[in-house]
């Protein structure tokens, strides 16, 4: 049994982790027509087999706890271990979501205080914690923009503006909210093309979705002008908070003129990425969008007790986006992180994330790599383009990325944003030290030498991981999505 054997392949009929199940019940009053047979094909394994299998599988992952992971736009910073253990206390874990508020005053106090902290740090007037990831935060935000226009009887505003550099969730969200999308180009320096924007706005404009710093790693310098243009046209400004780490505690979206914002707590507030989630995407709004916040929201009574606000309290709410109240346990972790940092710590996040990115960009530039926007400051992240390497050596950004894995570094985000060819979007975060950044530069320099001397070496990477480069085309063409009895 090699380590990549599936748990199904380690199964034997009749084997069980006996300590984990209750005794068998013989009698069952449910009529046969409702019952299944045969039983589902599930693994049959002992407790130790399961523990060993998943422990070994875990070792095949890169993660923050094991590797530098400079994935641009993802803010792979250290996840403090206390955030996990304190959120996983019995008192919190055992609480039923529909239990009376009296049984959850400790939990609700944390949620209320988190709302306050997020309001202050974003400069918004109200916050709802319920969205379960960034994309759902976007949905909530854009749905509120729609609800706002609808409430004013302005049904003509059915278009959302999105810069061409935007994350894919932005246009996808706009469509989910029933809008059509118009792309706005980026100018040569990475800012939104103001002329194009002016031309695009009009009575059909519901709003614009922006990240600032943008996904190309620079601060949108004309943000005040943009806000004026869109507001004057009657549209609202949506802030995608995925990049908030760059400015946390230093610059507030509310002060830039945004009407609505989501935060990615699994980025900026260091809740775990968990191999793909769960996240949390709270939304903050300015005064005029307050009535539309998704429910539930925590309120504090005059007697100091906490309670949920629901439809009854918020008749204009866009409604409920999750079965209960969003990813409560993740929100708890973010709250704990916020308390550990405090206001000074938040400002330092922005400062040192920015310092690390600018240092890394300077070092890479020195080493001969080409920043995509060489005239600009890096924010918490920046882009280099490997188009020269692709052209001259036939070694692509993907090849560099795979070879980096052999050097013990997770690759940066590749091929995003789409408008920069052969790009790496590099975000070191504030929690990495200088030695690590220097090691990363050295690795890229070494790969560059390899590419020059023997490009096949780089193109064949990785060599030292559990598998070599995988055949994605075959994966999509010969779909093999589940284990079946007759599988190899």
């Amino acid at each position: 049994m090699t380590a990549d054997t599936l748990i199904y392949q380690k199964s034997h009929h009749g084997r069980r982790a006996t300590a984990q199940a209750p005794a068998a019940v013989v009698a069952c009053d449910i009529p046969a027509q409702f019952l299944r047979s045969p039983p589902p094909l599930m693994p049959e394994a002992s407790e130790m087999q399961v523990v060993r299998h998943y422990t070994r599988l875990s070792q095949k992952n890169f993660s923050i706890d094991t590797h530098f992971y400079p994935l641009g736009s993802c803010t792979m910073k250290y996840n403090p271990r206390a955030c996990n253990s304190l959120a996983m206390q019995t008192g919190f874990l055992d609480r039923h979501p529909l239990a009376p508020e009296a049984t959850g005053q400790g939990f609700l106090a944390c949620m209320y205080e988190l709302q306050q902290i997020l309001k202050t740090v974003t400069g918004m007037k109200g916050v709802s914690l319920t969205p379960m990831a960034g994309a759902q935060g976007e949905f909530a935000g854009v749905a509120m923009i729609r609800a706002y226009h609808d409430a004013r009887g302005d049904q003509a505003r059915r278009e959302i503006l999105v810069p061409d550099a935007a994350h894919g969730t932005n246009p996808a969200t706009a469509v989910m909210c029933g809008f059509s999308v118009r792309e706005i180009p980026t100018d040569a320096h990475g800012d939104v093309d103001l002329a194009a924007l002016k031309e695009a706005v009009g009575p059909q404009t519901a709003g614009i979705m922006l990240t600032n710093p943008s996904t190309i790693g620079v601060f949108e310098r004309n943000i005040t002008e943009i806000a004026a243009i869109v507001h004057q046209a009657g549209g609202l400004l949506y802030y995608d908070g995925a990049n908030l780490n760059a400015i946390l505690g230093k610059v507030r979206p509310g002060d830039m003129g945004f009407d609505v914002i989501h935060l990615n707590l699994h980025k900026t507030f260091s809740t775990p990425h968990g191999g793909g989630g769960p996240g949390a995407g709270p939304v903050g709004v300015s005064e005029r969008l307050l009535p539309f916040l998704p429910i539930p929201v925590v309120d504090r009574n005059s007697d100091g007790r906490y309670r949920w606000l629901t439809e009854q309290d918020c008749p204009q709410t866009i409604g409920r986006l999750s079965t209960f109240a969003g990813n409560a346990g993740i929100l708890l972790r973010a709250y704990i992180y916020a308390r550990l940092l405090g206001r000074e710590g938040m400002q330092r996040v922005a400062e040192f994330a920015t310092l690390n990115a600018n240092y890394l960009m300077a070092r890479l530039r020195e080493a001969g790599f080409e920043p995509a926007f060489p005239k600009r400051r890096a924010t918490h992240e920046f882009i280099i383009t490997l188009k020269k390497q692709a052209r001259e050596l036939n070694v692509t950004a993907m090849d560099f990325a795979k070879r980096l894995l052999d050097y013990g570094y997770h690759a940066p985000t590749t091929y995003f944003p789409l408008l920069v060819p052969e790009c790496f979007l590099i975000e070191p975060t504030e929690s990495e030290d200088k030695d690590t950044l220097d090691g990363f530069v050295a690795a890229l320099v070494a790969i560059q030498r390899e590419a020059e001397a023997d490009s096949a070496r780089v193109k064949g990477a990785p060599y030292t991981l559990p598998v070599r480069r995988l055949d994605d085309v075959r994966a999509a063409r010969e779909l093999d999505l589940i284990w079946k009895h007759d599988n190899a």
């Binding site: 998943y54 070792q59 943000i223 550990l340 940092l341 070599r468 994966a475």
Partner: protein, 454 residues
């Protein structure tokens, strides 16, 4: 500086390399007006010790009553191994597996998860998770509208026996795309949809949603409902409790052709109650519709040497490729919950899950037996088969007061249904799981008896 490793020397050297005098200088592209953020009302940082003290106290304050409340979130035993492994740094602190070669752990695990979920639901394929049950249903509705090629309808038949919060979430999400949820009433006597009363020509619907068990714990006539829907050109969206599927007929086997989409909340598979989240939504469908499915999907493939490996696949459906034409905007899903659930399912296996389901149901029957002698209590849908959850009608006392009294006694007695279903009168929804002992059932009965007398 918590979580920041820089020494004074580091900072100096780094600024020198960049060529700026201070960190402040790095923010010089930002309009000065904007860098004056006043966040002084945020408390100062606490060290871990003080934070620990605070959070211990908050959690202790929330000591929980004995729970007989279900309604979409179920207290089950979670093996200690589940979270000890899921919380390992390599799972906990990894990102979405974009670099497949560096994420084979997560990817293989998701492939195993997809396999388990597909077999549990009797469907062909599964995605790698959605946010939760309510939002999964909304995605299923959107998918059904896209997938139903025989109908161009944007109408969905949504029974009132579906969890009210699922309906609310679905409504909030799909209404923006002008999709209409048509409410389907239930039989007040049996607490299920009366198939016989469904019209022969219901109009054009994209899909019928069928919950099993339904919100009342009652078992719907899923075979007849499925066939009725298919007869009328509607797809069938099954909303199921995945644990119940260890026992109940799988959606893939409903009626002649099976449900088209199965979704629900994975919480009963190893996820703590935790005030409602994080849980995870699951979604499975037929092979033919896999390209309409939202969310990530992992596929098995081979590497350059022909060795088996796993990778994200069918990404052309997703927002990062298809942008405004994507099947959904979902990006981050509930990965860590899937990790826990996969370990949980592997530990329990089909037989273990079945025992949990049966034992939960058996415990409910045990409790009902104890309540039989109490005057003024009756089951609202006494003749309908059910699973581990049921509706009690209370004669003498208002349910909300009754529950309040029981709570003071340390018992969370159920859910007051009057808020959600005024048509049912003074009723409560009661749930029992395998976590309850005979003593616990006695305690409930005693507590209820006492509360009734007050």
């Amino acid at each position: 500086m918590p979580f920041i490793p820089h020494t004074e020397t580091d900072i100096r050297q780094m600024l020198d390399v960049i060529g700026v005098p201070t960190i402040e200088t790095l923010f010089d592209e930002i309009p000065a007006r904007l860098t004056q953020a006043d966040i002084s009302s945020i408390p100062s940082g606490l060290n871990e010790q003080a934070t620990t003290r605070l959070l211990l106290q908050r959690a202790q304050q929330d000591a929980q009553p004995l729970c007989f409340l279900g309604a979409g979130a179920y207290e089950h035993h979670i093996p200690a191994a589940v979270w000890q492994i899921a919380a390992r740094g390599e799972f906990y602190s990894a990102y979405t597996p974009y670099q497949a070669e560096a994420s084979q752990g997560t990817l293989q695990l998701i492939y195993e998860y997809q396999s388990m979920m597909a077999h549990l639901t009797g469907m062909d394929v599964s995605n790698a998770s959605l946010y939760d049950g309510g939002s999964a249903l909304s995605e299923a509705v959107l998918m059904a509208v896209r997938a139903n090629r025989s109908s161009k309808s944007r109408r969905i038949l949504m029974p009132r026996t579906v969890h009210p919060h699922y309906r609310a979430a679905t409504q909030a999400i799909v209404r923006n795309q002008d999709i209409i949820l048509d409410e389907l009433n239930f039989d007040l006597q049996h607490g299920v949809i009366d198939v016989a009363s469904l019209p022969d020509a219901p109009g054009d619907f994209a899909a019928l949603v069928i919950p099993q068990p339904n919100f009342f714990g009652a078992l719907e006539d899923v075979d007849a409902l499925t066939d009725w829907a298919h007869r009328h050109g509607a797809l069938v969206i099954a909303v199921v409790n995945p644990l119940a599927l260890a026992l109940l007929k799988a959606p893939g086997q409903w009626g002649a052709n099976g449900a088209d989409i199965a979704c629900g909340d994975g919480q009963p598979l190893g996820i703590p109650l935790s005030s409602g989240g994080p849980y995870f939504g699951f979604m499975c469908c037929k092979q033919a519709q896999v390209r309409q499915m939202p969310g990530r999907i992992v596929g098995r493939t081979v590497d350059l040497d022909g060795k088996t490996g796993y990778t994200l696949t069918l990404q052309a459906r997703e927002q990062h490729i298809r942008r405004s034409k994507a099947t959904s905007n979902i990006c981050t899903n509930q990965g860590l919950m899937v990790t826990a659930a996969t370990i949980h399912m592997a530990l329990l296996g089909a037989e273990g899950l079945r025992r949990v389901a049966l034992s939960s149901h058996d415990n409910l029957n045990g409790l009902l037996q104890r309540l039989q002698t109490l005057p003024g209590i009756e089951r609202a849908f006494a003749r309908r088969p059910f699973f581990h959850e049921t509706v009690l009608r209370i004669k003498q006392r208002h349910v909300s007061q009754l529950l309040q009294t029981m709570l003071q006694d340390g018992v969370l007695g159920g859910l007051d249904l009057s808020r959600y279903y005024p048509e049912l009168g003074n009723t409560l929804l009661l749930c029992v799981t395998e976590t309850k002992t005979a003593d616990d059932l006695d305690r409930y009965a005693r507590s209820l008896a006492t509360a009734l007398q007050q």
